[in-house]
Symmetry: C2
Subunit: 159 residues, 2 copies
């Protein structure tokens, strides 16, 4: 259930980038049972981590705090619509709903693009496709039989 | 340029999950200029981190080692076709090519699905869509004007 104070906290986290060298103005919080359980700020340049986006950091923080990888029932508030890494991480962690401020298009019009990564809308279009249909990240299958044998071995060992 | 020894190293990393409680049998290496610059193993359950997949860990490791977020020109070898979090992270880090062993479908047929995350093929279908078209992760815009004002403020400050 939406509560404006959490959206203000996400924007406040994003605003902290004004004073942190290497941070970018994207903040997020994960809320469960009416409480903030995780917070994040984009510090990818500072941490040399291309996945250090506000949303991924907030999801990771929440999971560490709650000692789980399952955030089912939690909601995420973010100052800007998330990129594909973040959307995928949120879906995989079971985040049930998100609230965002600026859209990807609005952000792209205001914030000059860094050299990396490629534009978020292009990444989204690419990530949604099967491996053999993408124009970015061309892929080849190698040693498939050995890789499959290992998966079988792991499943057997856990029985 | 493909070199089988790196694919064997990715599978070897995946095999290390046989002896590590909480690890899953998915390993990856990032190769640049003929050398391994990053390695990763899926330890999401152990680290309480739903983004701790072999490929994301290998990308993070490579970026930390090279003190960059730009892996342009690097290639990634992985024991299994990557999920959407990993594909997006690889594209955003500029990985130029990937080699994988088992496909997502093959892995799904062998490895019993955990309670979380949802199936990788469903996540991919969802991640590729605009926020207002997804059936998972419903989204609402809130405080857009304040979020946009902050982006402008950050850009102004960096001028």
């Amino acid at each position: 259930m939406y509560d404006e104070k959490f959206m203000r906290r996400a924007i406040e986290l994003a605003a902290s980038a004004l004073d942190i060298p290497g941070a970018r103005p994207y903040g997020a919080v994960v809320v469960k049972d009416g409480k903030v359980v995780g917070e994040g700020l984009n510090e990818s340049a500072k941490k040399f981590d291309p996945t250090s986006h506000g949303e991924v950091e907030a999801v990771r923080d929440a999971c560490r705090n709650l000692k789980t990888t399952d955030l089912s029932g939690a909601e995420l508030y973010t100052s800007c619509e998330p990129c594909s890494v973040c959307v995928a991480a949120m879906i995989m962690a079971g985040i049930s709903r998100m609230y965002y401020g600026a859209s990807l298009q609005q952000s792209a019009r205001i914030v000059p693009p860094p050299k990396m990564p490629p534009p978020a809308l292009l990444v989204r279009e690419q990530v949604g496709q099967p491996a053999d249909s993408r124009s970015m990240l061309p892929a080849e299958v190698k040693l498939g039989d050995e890789a499959i044998a290992l998966l079988r071995q792991w499943v057997e060992k856990r029985k």
